[in-house]
């Protein structure tokens, strides 16, 4: 260790985010005091972000296997077999903290990171989805965040050349001090050409490829593992800057290098950069690595070993090549005008040895770095919850005018059109997008086959807040239902679990419950979770966000041309509601938008019914019996019907009658799972009825399409009779008026 470096003490360790216990544990493991560089390695790799210290014991509960799974959790991304020799590779990542500090670059580098996770697997990215959460859009601060985040995603994704085809944006005050920016990426690769982040073959050369290293984002990993406070400012020097152009070159160079067969393994230098790659890759392969930092391409002078190892400069990869084929690697990267420098070798013995100008600055068993402690911390159900759940939404009187209430709902930013967002994203590059943003799920074709993929993210923080287990299960169901409504069979899940500080028992309880809920739903729907991400410490000055698991689902269409969209396709079609009548105003958008209240109990969730409803929808679409399918989500059936009327190319009205029984506002605005609105041409009615009889689900005809009004009747009452133009106006302006 060089004399200039600070002395390693327990205090230093604490400043770097390690606890005293963890520090002692390191000393015990090494049998000596760590050097400054070594403590840096541990602080990054034992950070919550890298090591999942608080979450690991729960994540094991998620189902991770299935007939299609080619790669489960543990690699850069998961992979599923979609037939005809193709595999889909996908993963979701959060970049919440960086996006709060610097919205534009934070969101942009979030996109860059998830793209690299996909193409390190050898897959070409074909789609991005962005799942965003903000505070009240009327607040100028929020507007600043939205504009920054959306333009950051737009800039990086568009310049790189991957279409953004879906996502969601939801708003709640709890996100004001801690917005969520989750980005999912989907890629395609030949099933037998998947690459992994392994350092196999003792003696194989280790290449550093891509951008030069600067002091960007040092301790980003530890930053993502701390809550915000008035000192957030001080963490600002860690801002990373993205370069989508270099990323595009890196993509082409990596795929080209992989195709030569000279590449053994490759990993993206994400959080904790070089430190992470040089320890994780050998750890996965039972090998070690010798690295000479002096060879690392850098753009700043006087960088210490510590800084070189922990820098989170973007657009960099660590690549292990076949010994003797170094030249092919160099040539390929040179063609794309990128650095490819041999900085070390794979060795036996399981040690990571870091040298600077020949002098050893760190020597640690890679296992020690990957064996971070796993905590089983206390959990308690928040005391306040009972009271919230006990709230009876019916204590509020019915809306005087249902048409007006519906307009209010359509104009609520969470439900209103997000076109302002996605028209800033390229949605088509690659010529795969068959269904653009604006329907439930996006549909992409797989060129060279008849197949297609449907993708969607979902997650309702209010539901999860009131009932973490059921709310999280419902998130899985809704994402899968959206995919089924496009006609695709859900194949697998990636999840991004956004929560507050796990060191608070109430938060950890929410987390554990949510994971169980996700596990239950995934088991019932036979959906393996093949990858994901945990983002803890989403709080500012003690105010935690709503617990927000964001669920990304990928589904398969055997015949891409047989997909459905959410909007009515013409007049004179019969309209049916599939699924039960179990809905609730508890935690509903209606309760929030109209009564500014968060409380009540969620509707029941019958996972078997959910499975059958989705199967029935897919069967009907596959048989070409329906012209539209749209699931009922926020705002209940009234909003679902309105969206089917106004979100297509042309307006198509409809006139429906719903069963009496409960109070009207529950019936039309109540939210519940397992419900889908479909439209059927008269010629197909009999075949459709036969199919529904077979599928043994509750369903009923509720009306027919036509005209330029949305009419909803309850018994003799004509509850809603609204001009579509007015509804569309409310829906179009609801969000945009705050940002445009």
């Amino acid at each position: 260790m060089t004399p200039s470096e600070p002395k390693v003490t327990a205090d230093l360790a604490r400043d770097l985010g390690l606890t005293i216990e963890e520090y002692d544990r390191i000393i015990a493991r090494l049998g000596r005091e760590p050097t400054y560089t070594e403590i840096g390695l541990f602080s990054a790799l034992w950070s919550e972000h890298c090591a999942y210290k608080h979450s690991r014991i729960f994540l094991g509960r998620l189902p991770q296997t299935g007939p299609h799974v080619l790669q489960g959790p543990g690699e850069n991304a998961g992979a599923l077999d979609i037939g005809e020799g193709w595999a889909v590779v996908f993963k979701i990542e959060s970049h919440n903290h960086p996006s709060f500090i610097e919205p534009f670059q934070g969101a942009a580098t979030g996109v860059g990171g998830i793209l690299r996770d996909i193409f390190t697997m050898g897959a070409r990215p074909i789609a991005l989805l962005d799942s965003l959460r903000f505070g009240d859009p009327a607040d100028p601060k929020t507007r600043h965040l939205i504009t920054g985040v959306v333009s950051g995603i737009s800039w990086y994704g568009n310049c790189f050349g991957c279409p953004t085809v879906g996502g969601e944006v939801a708003f709640a005050p709890e996100y004001a001090g801690n917005p969520l920016v989750n980005v999912m990426c989907v890629g395609l690769v030949r099933a037998d050409r998947i690459f992994r982040a392994r350092a196999e073959g003792v003696g194989n050369p280790v290449f550093y490829v891509g951008n030069k290293t600067g002091r960007d984002g040092i301790h980003g990993a530890t930053m993502a593992s701390a809550t915000f406070d008035e000192h957030a400012e001080e963490r600002r020097p860690t801002v990373q800057v993205g370069d989508p152009f270099t990323e595009k070159l890196l993509l082409e160079a990596c795929l080209e290098a992989m195709s030569t067969g000279a590449v053994v393994g490759i990993q993206d230098m994400g959080a904790a950069g070089l430190a992470c790659c040089t320890s994780e890759m050998p750890a996965r392969s039972g090998t070690g690595m010798d690295v000479e930092l002096a060879r690392v391409p850098r753009r700043e002078r006087g960088m210490s070993p510590y800084e070189l190892l922990l820098s989170e400069s973007q657009e960099r990869m660590l690549l292990v090549a076949q010994r003797g084929r170094e030249e092919e690697v160099r040539r390929t990267f040179a063609k794309w005008e990128l650095d490819a420098v041999e900085i070390g070798r794979v060795v036996s013995g399981g040690d990571l040895t870091i040298k600077m100008d020949g002098e050893v600055v760190a020597q640690v068993p890679v296992d020690a770095l990957s064996e971070a402690p796993r905590y089983d911390k206390p959990r308690v159900r928040p005391a306040a919850l009972d009271q919230l759940v006990a709230l009876d939404p019916l204590k509020f009187s019915e809306p005087a005018e249902y048409g007006a209430a519906l307009e209010t709902l359509l104009a609520s930013p969470t439900i209103a059109s997000k076109e302002w967002v996605y028209r800033q994203y390229d949605q088509q590059v690659g010529l795969n997008t068959l269904v653009l943003p604006g329907s439930d799920a996006a549909v992409l074709r797989v060129k060279g086959t008849r197949r297609g993929l449907a993708v969607k993210t979902d997650g309702n923080g209010r539901h999860v807040f009131l009932d973490p287990r059921r709310g999280a299960a419902m998130a899985v169901c809704e994402a899968a239902r959206n995919v089924s409504c496009a006609g695709a069979r859900p194949l697998g899940v990636t999840d991004c679990l956004n929560f507050g500080s796990p060191e608070r028992p109430e938060i950890l309880w929410q987390f554990a419950e949510a994971v169980d809920g996700i596990a239950e739903a995934c088991r019932a729907l036979e959906l393996p979770v093949v990858g994901g991400n945990v983002s803890f410490y989403n709080e500012t000055s003690g105010q935690a966000i709503l617990p927000t698991p964001v669920i990304g689902v990928v589904g398969l269409l055997e015949d891409a041309s047989r997909h459905a969209t959410q909007y009515f396709a013409g007049s004179g079609h019969r309209v049916a509601l599939l699924g039960g009548d179990d809905v609730s105003l508890g935690g509903s958008e209606y309760l929030w938008a109209v009564h500014a209240t968060l409380g009540g109990t969620l509707a029941a969730l019958d996972l078997e019914l959910e499975r059958r409803v989705q199967a029935a929808v897919r069967a009907a679409i596959g048989a070409g019996l329906v012209r539209s399918a749209h699931d009922c989500a926020e705002g209940g059936i009234a909003v679902a019907l309105a969206e089917s009327c106004i979100t297509g190319r042309e307006h198509v009205g409809c006139d429906v009658a719903l069963p009496e029984g409960r109070r009207a506002d529950v019936t039309v605005f109540g939210e519940g799972p397992s419900r889908v609105v479909v439209s059927v041409e008269s010629a197909r009615v009999l075949a459709f009825e036969a199919l529904m009889a077979e599928s043994a689900i509750p369903w009923r005809w509720i009306g027919a399409t036509g005209g330029d009004h949305l009419t909803i009747r309850l018994g003799s009452r004509r509850l809603v009779d609204a001009a579509l133009a007015a509804l569309e106006q409310a829906w179009r302006r609801g969000f945009e008026r705050h940002v445009a």
Partner: protein, 237 residues
Amino acid sequence: MRFGVVVFPGTWSDCDFHYVISEVLHQPVKYVWHRDRSLGEFDCLVLPGGFAYGDYLRAGAVAGRSPVVESVREFTAGGGLVLGSCNGFQILCEAGVLPGALMRNECLQYRCQSTHLRVENVDTPFTRGLRPGQVLTMPISHGEGKYHADPETLKVLKQQNRVVFRYATPDGRLTREANPNGSLDNIAGIVNEEGTVLGMMPHPERAAETAMGGTDGLLLFKSLLGSLVEDGTFLKR
């Protein structure tokens, strides 16, 4: 008809054009790497969309000064056809092959949306198959597509009838609302004096299959193929 699709570092519509030309039109097509100098084997070059060299400084600025552009000049001088779409149009303007400049969208945002184009000039190899005033539907996807030219240049463009496409309403009216980026005179595409180099912001390759939502983009290619005479030269009306 032999097509060449020019690839700069950062180009991303190259594969899409290649796909449409080979899979939809069944025409021979090859990629042209930005360092290549020999273009003799091609009848038509495509400069596709993307962010060549990241579009840093100005969209198309760096690409517009790269080696292949010199070859493109020679290629056009020899009567070769060039279609520059999106970034390709920006590059042709930056290179001075086409007049004017493409500036940041008036809305100061990137725009990816469907647009309607009124055909203004059917006297080019790219549009001979079309009717004057015909309205085509094609998507745009750009942040810097606001066409600008000084008054003299604009006058010349009009006199020589070199404006090929204008953003319009579905029924062909030129309104402000129909103009997605604030382009001067709703200009979406122009040609050089000979009519052999077409630059346009919209993406014809994204409107070449029913599955992708429309086939109006194909009409440009069909015109091209139709205007090819046996000996490889082009009809001049």
